[in-house]
């Protein structure tokens, strides 16, 4: 009895420790199992810091709403801020050489950031009444001023803001219904601000405003016979250039000295022949501008007399930087042309077109696409001449710094916008590939372990600790490109928004290969392509290891659902596209089927906008397999806008025209229509297809058995009242309620329905095994809540009787069908949760034996691991002894947040969007990949690594013990020999 209680005590001790700190690590283990990469996203504007002190920095704003300061030498991030999702940076500039001024959130928020450390200095809110273009004008600092006035245009108002504290000095209403201000100009050294724009479609309007007090000095308007397009530009300080609506007439307005004169000119007369519809390039150049049609780019110069001169016509695709002033009144700009895999970088002086200040050719990987944007900066060489460097943004969203014809550094910022992730196994280690290279000789191995032993015994000196740390991080085992025994090393294949696919190594996060997909590049057939999802396409069987696995990338040509789809097949080892399907039927939904053909290619059903199913791969064999299994294939669609969920099954081959034998018409099976006035679908989630469940039964404390209701066809749907879909606080508790459903997607049967009164969206949910956990906001208590629903099969509950099993009267072998109506029992419980969630995921392991943890992406961009046992509907305030032994945790009203169980420890995954878990081969362990602007990967063992020794395991201590034991054996042997001898003498 005592033994038993002792054993239970040990078990409890183990369990309690496992619950509390199963994700925790020591500080010196950072970077051992995890890696973290920081990105910023596609740069859309860059400003170089020209102050002497911080010359080596550049400030950039990106499409991911990131404002960052980068080191010009290495491209590292000094500081960075991720602004809110609706807080896109419209414009920014450096004021006084020490503040970064940003205009964001559509132009309504003006912020100043300290340039060295990124601390926000002030924040100012601009008020406007109309929608309008927003603009920011920061006067370049001349000498050591203390203050400068910032001009910001937002909502029809021109605001003058002090750069010291963000105080609004004056604001001027420049608006009427038809007036659109397009440009704000303040010529250097003049106290007049010009606000230029259009009044109606064919009236040019100009306002001259006193820069000191905002008084309107003059209003002028000039009539134009045609109508303006919205493309316009201010060239130098006194010429406004615009195009007419047809893009064939160029309009210039000279507005210097209070005189306004408008000139029209046909573009074809300037650039010759049939130029077609022209576009103005936005680059700000001195006394010149550029026009582009779909084939060529023309440069035009505005002479002092107001005449236009054609400078050059360039046939290739060209990117132009804004002009940069260097030296005394010299202005230069960069021109970048892309030919094949070479980039020609030219710097031209503003006043002399024919002379190139600099001409360099840089080799750039053709896999990066064409140049999208270029920003230049100058520096003084050692021989006092001027040198130029350029930041180049490429089609794959990467950022390059080019200097002296070399790429100094590059950043793969396409990884900041991951759309989808899949994994592939690495190739098996081949015979002949030597492993010994990574293993040191015995002496070093022993030395390393003795050092580690010292570390664990806290006897190590700081130098030793540093050596240990270095040794651990250097461990080349984890970054080998071969499969490992534990399955920790894999390839993460990610699809990014730029259409580039990257393969990342899970060991250290480096890029193994990357590929800019040809089928996802802009072309005439495909005007605005986007990737949607990525799927494993072919996973070679253990016996066919010489074949490479491949992945399927699905994209579409238009951002709408009805846009034609594109498919691309990529070899996961070589990183090459081996097949692609040109723009074809639309793709709304992709269903991987649980069947593979003889080549181990997985069958996929692609559902188009008309709900027809297209089968891939298009081979007769796949068709045979599909026809055989067709009666078991079902799918459903959720139309959130209309509140309808529909279930379908494929019918025999489509008879519609334009279809083929691989296209199947749908049969409507069922539909669930939610009343629009009271319920709106806010979230739906199903089980992960690859999830493995170990056991159907759950043994509870009193030796009772509960059978989990496990079905792959379970769908969780959450709806709220229409008022509850808005942001938190927009509804009162009486106005909103959350209703959750568990639906069988084959029959459309609602298995369970539950109402949470006074709760609202956003809802984040995860469904696994027989349970669903969801996170929502409770308006009554004004806190976030998490609920769990567990669903059990009652029809099998009678199988507990041993006699029934013996006689054979059980129904355990009866086939499980969705068409039978199982009696199910659902249990539920709710808890408070402190933080708002950005994503919820659940750990998944190879065999599903290990207990599960929930991974919650919190508002602070951290990932919290929470044991599933905290979300168990059987929790109660005072569990019995037996239940405690089972591991039931006493009920508390809120879920605990233990800092040690943040899997991201002291790091932040900025802009967190999703969390992915991938099982390792080792049952206890799972890989967790979370991504947003940053990437973070770690290894988790939800119940500790019970099936292998940890990396911390001290082999030296084991060796020491063995030595001591062997020594002791000899000692006892000698002693016993002596004693025996003594006995014999007696």
């Amino acid at each position: 009895m005592a033994e038993r209680s002792f054993f239970l005590f040990l078990l409890l001790l183990f369990l309690s420790s496992a619950v509390e700190f199963s994700a925790s690590i020591f500080e010196d283990q950072v970077g051992l199992m995890d890696w973290h990469q920081k990105y910023i996203g596609k740069v859309n504007h860059a400003v170089f810091h020209t102050q002497k002190t911080g010359r080596k920095r550049v400030v950039v704003s990106t499409e991911e709403n990131v404002l960052a300061s980068l080191d010009l030498r290495h491209g590292d991030i000094f500081w960075r801020h991720v602004l809110g999702p609706s807080d896109a940076i419209e414009a920014f500039d450096i004021a006084l050489g020490k503040y970064v001024i940003t205009l964001s959130s559509g132009g309504s928020i003006l912020r100043a950031w300290n340039l060295p450390d990124g601390q926000m200095i002030w924040e100012s809110f601009l008020k406007g009444s109309r929608s309008s273009k927003s603009m920011l004008l920061v006067q370049p600092s001349v000498g050591a001023e203390k203050e400068t006035v910032l001009l910001a245009f937002y909502g029809g108002f021109l605001h003058a803001v002090s750069s010291i504290d963000g105080e609004i000095l004056w604001r001027k209403d420049l608006g009427s219904e038809s007036l659109e201000i397009q440009q704000i100009v303040q010529p250097v050294g003049i106290e007049v601000v010009y606000a230029l724009g259009f009044d109606g479609s064919s009236q040019f309007a100009a306002y001259e405003i006193n820069a000191r007090n905002g008084e309107l000095m003059k209003h002028e308007s000039v009539h134009f016979s045609g109508s303006f397009s919205r493309e316009n530009l201010v060239v130098s300080d006194g010429v406004f250039v615009a195009l007419d609506a047809s893009g064939s007439i160029l309009v210039t307005v000279h507005f210097q000295n209070g005189e306004y004169s408008l000139q029209e000119m046909r573009i074809s007369s300037l650039l010759g022949g049939n130029f077609g519809k022209a576009k103005l390039l936005g680059a700000k150049l001195p006394h010149m501008f550029a026009l582009r049609n779909d084939k060529l780019t023309g440069f035009l110069k505005v002479t002092d007399e107001g005449k236009l001169e054609t400078l050059e016509r360039i046939n290739n695709e060209v990117s132009i930087s804004d002009s940069l002033s260097f030296a005394e009144k010299q202005r230069a700009f960069a021109l970048v042309q892309h030919n094949d895999n070479k980039v020609e970088f030219r710097v031209k002086l503003g006043h002399e077109w024919n002379k190139d200040l600099l001409q360099e050719t840089v080799n750039i990987d053709p896999n990066r696409g064409h140049v999208e944007n270029v920003f230049i900066n100058n520096y003084i060489r050692t021989d006092r001449s001027y040198g130029f460097r350029a930041l180049i943004v490429l089609e794959d969203h990467s950022l390059l710094l080019v200097q002296q014809g070399e790429v100094v550094w590059k950043r793969e910022d396409g990884l900041a916008s991951i759309l989808d992730v899949t994994t592939a196994e690495l190739p098996v280690e081949k015979v002949g590939v030597s492993v010994s290279k990574v293993e040191e000789n015995l002496h070093e191995w022993l030395k390393g372990h003795i050092l580690k032993l010292k570390g664990t015994l806290m006897l190590a000196t700081p130098e030793d600790v540093a050596t240990i740390q270095g040794m651990r991080l250097k461990n080349s085992e984890k970054s080998k490109i071969t499969r490992d025994h534990n399955g920790f090393r894999k390839l993460l294949i990610v699809l990014t928004r730029s259409g580039k696919v990257f393969a990342l190594h899970t060991g250290d996060g480096r890029i193994v290969w990357s590929l800019l997909l040809r089928s996802l590049r802009k072309s005439e057939a495909c005007t605005s392509p986007t990737g949607i999802r990525i799927y494993p396409w072919q996973i070679p069987h253990h016996h066919a290891l010489d074949e490479n696995p491949s992945v399927l990338v699905v994209g579409r040509c238009l951002p709408t659902d009805s846009g034609p789809g594109v498919l691309s097949f990529i070899d996961a080892y070589a990183g090459k596209e081996f097949d692609s399907v040109a723009p074809t039927h639309s793709v709304v939904q992709i269903i991987p089927l649980p069947f593979t053909d003889a080549l181990e290619q997985r069958l996929h059903l692609l559902i188009d906008a008309n709900q027809r199913a297209h089968l891939y791969p298009r081979s007769p064999e796949a068709l045979t397999i599909f026809n055989r299994e067709m009666s078991n294939v079902y799918w459903y669609t959720v139309v959130a806008e209309n509140g309808i969920i529909r279930g379908y099954a494929p019918k025999s081959t489509s008879v519609n025209e334009g279809s083929d034998e691989y296209c199947f018409d749908p049969t409507d099976l069922w539909s669930i229509v939610f009343p629009m006035e009271s319920e709106k679908i806010v979230a739906w989630v199903t089980r992960k297809l690859s999830e493995v469940v170990h056991t159907q039964a759950k043994v509870i404390a009193d030796q009772d058995v509960m059978y989990k209701y496990i079905s792959k066809n379970l769908l969780f749907v959450a709806t709220t009242s229409p008022k509850g879909t808005g942001e938190i606080g927009s509804a009162t508790p009486d106005e909103s309620s959350l209703i959750v459903y568990l639906i069988d997607t084959v029959t459309g049967r609602i298995l369970h329905r539950m109402i949470h009164k006074g709760c609202q969206a956003p809802v984040h949910a995860v469904l696994s095994e027989n349970w669903v956990v969801y996170h929502y906001f409770n308006l009554r208590s004004h806190r976030f809540e998490m609920s769990v629903i567990e669903i059990y099969d009652q029809s099998r509950a009678d199988n507990k009787d041993v006699w029934k099993l013996v006689i054979g009267k059980h129904n355990l072998t009866s086939p499980v069908s969705s068409y039978s109506r199982p009696e199910v029992k659902a249990e539920s419980q709710s808890y408070f949760f402190t933080h708002s969630a950005k994503a919820i995921a659940v750990t998944s392991t190879a065999k599903g034996i290990t207990s599960r943890q929930l991974l919650i992406g919190t508002v602070g961009d951290q990932v919290l691991a929470l044991d599933k046992r905290y979300l168990d509907p059987r929790r109660k305030t005072d569990p019995t002894q037996a239940e405690k032994e089972e591991g039931l945790i006493p009920l508390t009203d809120s879920l605990p947040i233990i800092p040690q169980s943040y899997v991201t420890h002291a790091l932040k995954v900025e802009g967190l969007r999703d969390i992915i878990t991938v099982p390792a081969k080792l049952e206890s362990t799972t890989l967790v990949f979370s991504y947003g602007v940053d990437l973070f990967l770690t290894r988790l063992a939800p119940s500790r690594t019970y099936d292998s020794l940890t990396e911390d395991f001290s082999y030296a201590l084991l060796l020491l013990t063995i030595v001591v034991l062997v020594g002791a054996i000899f000692a006892t042997w000698i002693l016993s020999e002596k004693k025996e001898l003594r006995e014999k003498w007696r």
């Binding site: 801020h81 924040e123 606080g729 906001f777 201590l957």
Partner: protein, 206 residues
């Protein structure tokens, strides 16, 4: 909160200004466009431990209503949201290394300027919108300092311990046995030919 002198860190200046500034209004009457929420985040001791792995004030983020808007702190710890509708809102502060309770803020349309804020975790109401962390968060396990006990408790320690017990204490126990009985047992063992440790070792064959 007492300012710490003797260092020229800018963050220390922040601490001093935090201590000297009087706390501000939490709500200001809005114009026709909406209301404003003004508040302040106060982290005692941040200046002192800013060199560790905990966050800096420039990295602090203040989130309104679960992510609809995000703002940052000014050097003195103040933050504000503008153009807010009347109703109940939720403010969350996130700084690495600290645990902040979300704050419920009621913006009343009838009494503009009325403050009503409460921590949702502790249900404590705030008279002014000054947010302080409930506790510090330590993300790492602390290594236990070396002790003989931890070594003894490890599996290898237990093995060595048992061996020592068998070597030195077992003979002592055996001595207490009756010599007659002892001899009988030994003879029994020899006659049965139980392989003893000595027999297995090389050179022990007699």
């Amino acid at each position: 909160m007492s300012p710490i002198m003797g260092s020229c860190s800018a963050l220390l200046l922040v601490a001093i200004s935090l201590a000297s500034l009087s706390s501000g209004i939490a709500l200001s009457p809005g114009s026709a466009e909406g209301f404003s929420i003004n508040g302040r985040v106060k982290i005692p001791g941040l200046a002192v431990k800013a060199f560790g792995n905990s966050g800096k004030i420039s990295d602090a983020e203040v989130t309104l209503n679960g992510g609809s808007r995000i703002t940052f702190l000014r050097p003195d710890g103040y933050f504000s949201f503008h153009n807010i509708s009347a109703g109940t809102h939720l403010i969350e502060v996130s700084v690495i290394g600290y645990f902040f309770s979300p704050v419920r803020v009621d913006v009343s349309a009838r009494n503009p300027g009325k403050v009503q804020a409460a921590l949702t975790e502790t249900r404590r109401s705030l008279s002014e919108l000054v947010l302080e962390p409930l506790r510090e968060e330590h993300y790492y396990e602390i290594r236990e300092p070396f002790s003989i006990m931890s070594l003894v408790k490890s599996p290898m320690g237990l093995m060595v311990g048992f061996m020592l017990f068998a070597m030195f204490l077992m003979p002592k126990l055996a001595e207490n046995m009756d010599p007659e009985e002892m001899r009988r047992t030994q003879e029994e063992m020899r006659s049965q030919g139980v392989p003893s440790l000595a027999n297995m070792l090389p050179g022990a064959a007699r």
